[in-house]
Subunit: 382 residues, 3 copies
């Protein structure tokens, strides 16, 4: 696929494309999927390669695939909390290494597909732990959980490949729920906070502060990495803009939709202010708006619908799982995005096969090339 | 498929079939699937077509497909409660229109496949709401929920088509549970009643009144539309007889089996008297007895087994979901019917492909024609 | 398949195999899958055939397939409790007979595939019942539940055959949970014990007795049949050794791993002492270590990983289902083993197709023959 794209690029250059296309091509070097890096890395040392695979994995969490964005996100996580940053690093590396040892598909490993689930598991284990930072014993479940993600990823992919569906963050969602169920709040070794479901009544019926709620929108993007601080969240958003401005816009839009949905269901205020009500909407919106489907106004409307579905489903699942004291994580967005990918009808026509998904801008670019090629074809045959 | 049937009919006429066949053909004009209506409707206005699609959708709830039956059922619902009737109308229309806008398969839309889930969601939202009738804000979730059904129907059909399974009421069951979880009993905007699980102890240990329990059997058919009044329930049963007497008989049989199962598990009396214990049995019995399988004594026995399985599974799921205050809806019957359709062995031999399912009488009729044709074939080759 | 094996054996004999091979062949007559018995039984009476099918079904519970082992296990169950032995017998026979009546695949029935789920359902219904031994009414749900297992087995097999996955004990796990949910602890007809989840706090914080914990390891093998006495558990282990020493070693190893996992999560002591913490680990370890994969050091490591996953998942599911008072049964091991069978990568290379799974020793033996044949081929072509 990558060599094809290269050839396409050359052809575009040869056919004296407009200046716009040239600028776009130059920008694609540091933004987008940075696929040219893969060729450059082939003869480098394993440690360097592993670092790039890991950084790609870090960005897979927010549906991106760009090592520079990954470095920015790691910086944001270390800025928010060095302990969380460490956990994320360990999780990504352990799960990527496990995938190498288990003989998983090399293209998948180098694309970072085996890093993001492990990273999320590690981050969430750290966030929910009530043992405080630098509780070194936590590295035991972190390593075990991250390694298990590879098992689930590999097993689920055999299942979902039949419908050309991505495994996405299903492994993370399964592992973190099993871990929290396994330990429970009163566990002597790995205690964790009891989760407050979104539908819990506010202890004191205060009015909603509009400014706090607006602050929740960018925080929703940070909450994808379980990060609740404003600065790092904005840095994560910046990393997303580097990969794809269109994706970043959809992330903010989805987070706003999620906050709106939370408001309409009268969830407790903390849920709105911390961005927890937004991150599922953001993920649901990003998946449909440009990533797995070529961007168009129709796709955009579906992306908004997907954001609403994700957000409401998150409240519902949050209330359900809250009865046993566990969080809904990103179940809602993962299930909704999977549903959108299975849709028949007009959305399916814009579907990009899972193996060819790249940055939304690239998808649009390829499509405009196809369209141009088709017009040239028709003219030459005329 | 429909034109083929037409040709078959003509052939039957030409070959001077017995008087019984002729009468059956005439009856098939107003009973059964009324497929001749589709041809007649082709050049009519969109509103009229939408009405027929909607009425077909209404009958899909009870596994029928006949616009006249649909009109009778709508009359029954408006009779029982005008507000519920309105909600049902809105739900059916919104989900059918959403399917049109989303570019779903035209044959599916015109067959009413996109109306019944939306209708059920709307009816159940109305029944569970504790805000009283004519609470106009309820139309918001009703419209949103009905539209979402189309997403789920479309997505699940991609999944289930691999096993030639119908999507059935899975979308309704998922949406209504998510809605009830989302709002919860204490929601300030959309409060709902807390559900009493079937296994709850009766507050006062009174004896069972046999007459009330017998009344529960026809009420079980009405409960498929969340209707608990005797008159409308009988009218719904009448609408079912119009479509297919065999299906109606299985509905009553299944409801009786469900009541029996409820009795054997000592569910609380209200559950038996209101028909809630019967409707899953009725649905499970109807699906197997004549609809998805050609009717025979063997199929009939499987239908009774399916009714028992549905009824017991309903009590189990009702107790499980009752712990978080939500109802089991028709999960049990839907899962059981899906299981029966996946069975291998002697039942599978009588399976009718999902795309060719029609009224049980028609299925029998086609089969007898096939058998006759086979005999003629053998004679001519001899 | 069996006739092929026969021919292979003959060829091995003809080519003057080493003494080791001959001894192995002789041993294979009373150990392993005893497939030669099937030919011998063909012209025997139905009752005798049914007995052999049932005994094969009994051993399928512990992933074995040997009528002699089955007889030993039945003896162990009657020794532990005659009532439990009777329930197990009834369950196996009822579900095997239901499969015959329902026209299930003959090879499946004669291989005991329709006996083990029914047996487990019956045994567990007996164990959880708080009505005491010899409560004859219990035979009603036992018969109904065992018969239902065939429906689930047949339906699920249509689903899982697409991925070449065994149905395993999914039917048992579903039925027993539905039964316990259906009845509930306060049911007047079929009361049952309330289950204590593994994560429940010990009432008095006593220290762990190491000897008791070691005793839990062999008890874990017995707990696969819901048997908590030491003598019968050892007899069951003996039956497993008769079928395959390698499988028995993995059972003990897995049970030890499960106990270790339980210890690391601080489950309550009773859970460790009775072997309840071990049996999921044992099942998970056996499935991977030699049965569904050819045995090698790599497979062995995966088997240990599978044991850990099963054991931790069991604690998690036990805590989850414990909130509604029901046990996790063998959900954890069944799900984990299914996951392992779906894995891609280096483990998948050692996968044996589901239809050709036999005793681990036989799998190894066939493989060494294949290897020998390949070498001969290369020499002859050279």
């Amino acid at each position: 696929m990558w060599t094809e794209t290269k050839t396409e690029m050359k052809e575009v250059g040869r056919s004296r494309a407009s200046l716009g296309h040239r600028v776009l091509n130059t920008l694609l070097l540091c933004t987008g999927d940075m696929e040219h890096l893969n060729k450059y890395m082939q003869d480098k040392s394993f440690v360097l390669q592993l670092a790039v695979w890991g950084l790609r994995g870090v960005t897979r969490v927010i549906l991106a695939n760009n090592p520079l964005s990954g470095a920015l996100i790691m910086a944001a996580l270390y800025w928010a909390s060095p302990w969380q940053g460490l956990l994320g690093t360990v999780g990504t590396l352990v799960s990527t290494l496990t995938a190498v040892i288990m003989g998983q598909d090399r293209a998948e490993v180098s694309g970072g597909h085996h890093g993001f689930n492990g990273m999320l598991v590690s981050l969430l284990m750290g966030v929910f732990s009530s043992a405080g930072d630098w509780y070194w014993w936590l590295l035991l479940p972190v390593c075990f959980g991250s390694a298990t993600c590879v098992f689930l990823f590999s097993g689920l992919s055999s299942l979902m490949v039949h419908w050309d569906l991505p495994v996405a963050v299903f492994p993370f969602n399964i592992i973190i729920i099993l871990y929290l169920l396994c330990t429970g709040p009163d566990n002597p070794y790995f205690p964790h906070h009891r989760i407050v479901p979104p539908g819990a009544l506010d202890p004191n019926g205060t009015d909603i502060i509009a400014l706090e709620m607006v602050r929740g929108v960018p925080l929703g993007v940070g909450q994808i990495f379980a990060c609740g601080a404003m600065g790092p969240s904005l840095l994560i958003l910046g990393a997303l803009v580097l990969y794809s401005p269109l994706l970043a816009a959809h992330a903010l839009l989805g987070s706003a939709v999620g906050t709106l949905a939370g408001l309409s269901m009268a969830v407790h205020h903390g849920y709105l202010y911390t961005g927890l009500s937004g991150f599922n909407g953001a993920l649901g919106c990003m998946a449909v708006g440009g990533l797995f489907f070529t961007f168009s106004w129709r796709t955009h409307l579906f992306a908004i619908a997907s954001a609403f579905l994700s957000a409401y489903a998150d409240i519902a699942l949050g209330n359900l799982l809250g009865t046993v004291g566990i969080p809904a994580c990103s179940w809602a967005a993962t299930l909704t995005a999977t549903l959108m990918l299975m849709l028949t009808g007009s959305l399916a026509e814009n579907r990009i096969p899972t193996g060819q998904v790249m940055a939304p801008e690239h998808n649009l670019h390829s499509r405009s090339q196809w369209a141009a090629a088709e017009i040239t074809d028709r003219e030459s045959t005329a």
